[in-house]
Every structure is written in structure tokens, then in C-alpha cells.
């Protein structure tokens, strides 16, 4: 008599072949998730983030170039230096103080800041004052979501961004190549503009140290140096802040530093740029191609004088 005995293992419990073959990947991923819980600074995927209509459809610059070609003078003045020396940066615990002309000065932990708004993916063009550019998929929150928290006073006109100095981990800060801490600044309306973000990641992952971990400014219509890295303090003022590059060479770097193909750097042309990974040069666009969104911030201003 043939009695059909059920299988020891139900078909639903059998790992499918394709998953079985990816078991190492699964182990690696789950280890990563576990580590991320234990060590908050370990790199864990931040996820893709919400997509945004502010993103460009241009092809992003490969991750290996975005993370290996950086201007972060605290870690050395060669563009290869930060990728080599920034591993020591202590990114936890990390707090950002927001003060100055505000009703509610606050000091916030990085974890709380990242909960202020859902992370959005913003694929932005980045144009360096040196004449090269990239396209970077950032992950971040609007700067405005952070600034609104402290209730700026009516007298506040400018926002100063002050970045970290860790002499033990930042070899560049032992030289006087710039005035440390590196500071940058924006007009309040520029900072509140929806294009301005505080980025905590790129390519769906936690921001690498050399790109300004754990939180950096990204202002895509200005030259790259305006977007300060590893921000520790934000200060509201009524006077235009003196930024590090303006202090270093006021005839060469202005407070506004909007990307502008018609206003050359005194020592080189800004009319064109080399997109990293490309051979030919591209024509640089007014406000780095964001003129439609930000042009009205500067109506009536002489951009040659306010360079």
C-alpha cells in the first residue's frame, strides 16, 4: 500500500535557490545592521530617502570619485589627502549649537536633528571655484527645518556656519593655511531657501568623513567652499559674517560666491568647468543651473560687485 508521507520540510520553508546563493551577502548585511545598532558611527545604509523635484536627472559622478577628490583643508590641502587622513574624525557624540539672534538658542544631538524632517535625496550639481564639477546624490534635510526651531529674531539677517576643529584628528589644523575654525555664512533668505540642505549622507549611505560627516551644508548654486563641512555651530547675526576664504584673500573670494560664468576669479576664468570623469569642458551655468529657483534672491544686486 502506498501511503504518501508528507515531506519533512514544507516547501514554503525551503530557502529558494537564488536567496541561498546570496547567503554571504545576507550575513554581511545583517552584520552591518547589528553593528549599526551597537556602534552608531558605523556606516549603515540611510536608505534611498524621499525623492525630490529639486534633483537633477544628470548622471551622478561615481562614488569613488566623490569620496576620493575632496577639498577639506583640515585634513590636508591635496585633494587626495582627506580620503587618506579623515578616518580619525570623531563623529559621535556630535552636537550642533544654534544661537545668536534667536529667541530659543538650542544645542541638539545629531540623532535629534536627523529626526526633524524625513531624509530626502537631492541630486545636485556641485561646482568648485577651481573649475571642476560633480553631480552628487546627497541625503539630507532642508536647512530651514533646523533654523526654524530656534525662532530667529527680526534683527537676524545672516547665518554663520562654524565647522569642527579636532587638532588630534585633523592634521591640517596644525598649519595656518586658513583661519580655523573654518567658517562660512549665508544671508538668512539664502539659508532658508528650499534648495539649501544639511546633508547627512550621499549615495544612500552615511556621509563619509572626507565629505563632511556627520552633517554638512550643501548650497548648490554657490561655489563648493560655501558648503561648510562637519558643522558644530550655527549663529544668527545682523552683520555679514567674515568667512574663512574672505579673510584669506578678500580680493579673490566674496561673501556671496554664487556660481557665475561672467565673473572670473582674478586668477582664472569661471566660464567653463570640467565635470569629473569627462574629457571636454562644459559651459558653466549661471547660479550653477539653479537660476530659475534662486535668481530672485539677487534682483537689483550688482553681482560683479557682490561676487
Amino acid at each position: 500500500m502506498l501511503i504518501r508521507r508528507p515531506d519533512d520540510i514544507r516547501p514554503s520553508e525551503i530557502t529558494s535557490r537564488c536567496l541561498f546563493e546570496r547567503r554571504r551577502e545576507f550575513l554581511r548585511l545583517s552584520a552591518g545592521v547589528a553593528l549599526a545598532g551597537i556602534f552608531p558611527s558605523a556606516h549603515g545604509a540611510l536608505g534611498p530617502g524621499r525623492s525630490s523635484s529639486y534633483s537633477t536627472s544628470e548622471t551622478p559622478t561615481p562614488l569613488k570619485h566623490v569620496t576620493a577628490y575632496n577639498n577639506y583643508y583640515e585634513f590636508g590641502t591635496d585633494k587626495e589627502d582627506p580620503a587618506r587622513t579623515a578616518h580619525g574624525l570623531r563623529v559621535r557624540p556630535w552636537t550642533i549649537s544654534i544661537d545668536g539672534l534667536v529667541r530659543q538658542p538650542k544645542t541638539l544631538g545629531i540623532e535629534d536633528i536627523l529626526k526633524l524632517a524625513p531624509l530626502e535625496e537631492r541630486i545636485y550639481r556641485l561646482r568648485c571655484v577651481e573649475g571642476w564639477s560633480m553631480v552628487i546624490p546627497w541625503l539630507g534635510i532642508p536647512v530651514s527645518s533646523l533654523l526654524k526651531l530656534v525662532e530667529p529674531l527680526g534683527s537676524a539677517k545672516y547665518v554663520e556656519f562654524i565647522t569642527a576643529v579636532q587638532p588630534e584628528t585633523m592634521p591640517g589644523t596644525r598649519t595656518r593655511v586658513l583661519d580655523w575654525p573654518y567658517t562660512e555664512g549665508l544671508r538668512l533668505d539664502e539659508a532658508m531657501h528650499p534648495l539649501s540642505i544639511m546633508a547627512a549622507g550621499l549615495y544612500g549611505d552615511v556621509l563619509p568623513n572626507q565629505n563632511g560627516a556627520p552633517l554638512r551644508l550643501v548650497v548648490p548654486w554657490k561655489y563648493g567652499f560655501k558648503s561648510g563641512k562637519s558643522i558644530v555651530r550655527i549663529r544668527f547675526t545682523d552683520k555679514e559674517p567674515r568667512t574663512s576664504w574672505v579673510k584669506s584673500a578678500p580680493q579673490e573670494y566674496g561673501f556671496y560666491s554664487n556660481v557665475n560664468p561672467d565673473v572670473d576669479h582674478p586668477r582664472w576664468s569661471q566660464a567653463r568647468e570640467r565635470r569629473i570623469g569627462e574629457f571636454s569642458k562644459r559651459t558653466t551655468l549661471m547660479f550653477n543651473g539653479y537660476a530659475e529657483q534662486v535668481g530672485q534672491l539677487y534682483t537689483g544686486m550688482d553681482l560683479r560687485k557682490n561676487f
Binding site: Y69, Y73, K79, E80, T175, V177, R267, R274
Partner: protein, 216 residues
């Protein structure tokens, strides 16, 4: 030491930097901005070779190795070789042979102006780097012409320092080495002059003085 034995390997060694950048470009190992790396690397090597040629005379003097002088022309021509390639990368990769933009750039940007002047000054030196030109010009005039290499060195360092954004440590290093090499020459010149003024070179009476007498 026979310079004929050193020249072939030295020639190959002088080509090594070019080989490095050619290989790097081929294998894509020059980083995110290979064109910038090649342009700057070739400029660095033009300057390196210029400093090496300026080291020949002091080294020869300090070591007493006269044969070193026989190698100088080749190294000097490599200065011109790398400077030409450096200029070519600018004309091609930077400006894509847009001659109008290039002319504007030369007039408007001091570091380009200075770079172009240094290159223009290299041309007569390269053109007269042969025995025929030395004969034609005469040793003294030829030497006077070739002293312009000192000015070229100063202009090249200036070109470099006006190009960098904030960290001038590398141009300063070049300036320091150039300063030592030119300073040595000034120092030797002053010493020579002092010796002459002190009468060290006046041929004094030597040996027995033979009186000139009218033979009867």
C-alpha cells in the same frame, strides 16, 4: 667617469616621469581628475629638471667631477621637453585650441602670462643647445644668453605660486632650493671679486729674475 656610459641610462631616467603619467592615463590610476594630474605633473617635472640643471655647476665645483658638466645639456633639453608638454596640455585639455580664449588668458591672468614668458625664454636656449650655435655665437655670448635660465627659474616659481589657492608650501620649497642654487653663484662671484681686488690673481715674481741686458 665616462659620460658616454651614463648618458643612455640618464636619458631613460629622464623619460620616467612621462612614462609614469602615460601609464597612469592608460590604466586610469591618476585619480578623479587625471587631466589636472597630468598638467600639473608635467609642470612639476619641467621645474624639477630646471633645478637639476642648476645643480650641475655647484655639484661639479664641490665634487671636482668635471664630467658632470657634460650631462647638463641633456637635462636642460628635458626642461624644454617637459615645459613643451606642460604647455601642450594647457593648449589642448584646458583651452581646446581656442586661440582667442588663449590670447585673452595670456593677457588677463598673471600666472599664465608669467608661464608663457618663461616658455618663450626657453626657446632660444633650446635652439642654441648645440655645438654649432656655440661656435657661431662664441663661448662668451653663448654663456651670457644661457644665463637667462636664472630668470626662467624665478619666473617658473612665480608661475607656480600664483597658480595655487592658499597653500604655498610647495612653491616655497621650490623657491628655497632655487634661492640656494642662485645664492651659491652670487656668493662665489663675490668671493672671486674680493680675491681679485685683494690682488690674489696678480702674477707675482716667480723664481729667479733674469735681468734683461743688452747683449754687446
Amino acid at each position: 667617469m665616462n659620460p658616454a656610459l651614463i648618458k643612455p641610462p640618464l636619458f631613460l631616467a629622464c623619460l620616467a616621469p612621462l612614462g609614469y603619467y602615460a601609464w597612469g592615463a592608460q590604466t586610469d590610476t591618476l585619480g578623479a581628475n587625471p587631466i589636472e594630474a597630468v598638467t600639473r605633473g608635467l609642470g612639476d617635472w619641467a621645474l624639477n629638471f630646471l633645478l637639476i640643471t642648476l645643480m650641475v655647476t655647484p655639484l661639479r665645483r664641490l665634487s671636482g667631477w668635471a664630467w658632470l658638466g657634460r650631462l647638463r645639456r641633456m637635462v636642460g633639453l628635458f626642461v624644454f621637453f617637459y615645459a613643451s608638454l606642460h604647455l601642450a596640455t594647457y593648449l589642448w585639455f584646458d583651452q581646446f585650441f581656442d586661440w582667442q580664449a588663449i590670447a585673452k588668458d595670456i593677457l588677463k591672468r598673471p600666472f599664465i602670462t608669467v608661464g608663457m614668458i618663461s616658455f618663450a625664454l626657453l626657446l632660444p636656449l633650446a635652439a642654441t643647445s648645440n655645438a654649432f650655435a656655440i661656435r657661431k655665437l662664441g663661448g662668451r655670448r653663448w654663456q651670457e644668453l644661457h644665463r637667462s635660465v636664472y630668470a626662467i627659474g624665478l619666473l617658473a616659481v612665480l608661475h607656480y605660486s600664483w597658480m595655487v589657492k592658499a597653500d604655498i608650501s610647495r612653491p616655497l620649497t621650490y623657491a628655497a632650493v632655487l634661492g640656494v642654487l642662485l645664492g651659491l653663484r652670487v656668493w662665489w662671484r663675490v668671493q672671486e671679486r674680493n680675491k681679485q681686488l685683494a690682488g690674489a690673481y696678480m702674477p707675482g715674481p716667480r723664481g729667479r729674475i733674469i735681468p734683461i741686458v743688452v747683449r754687446k
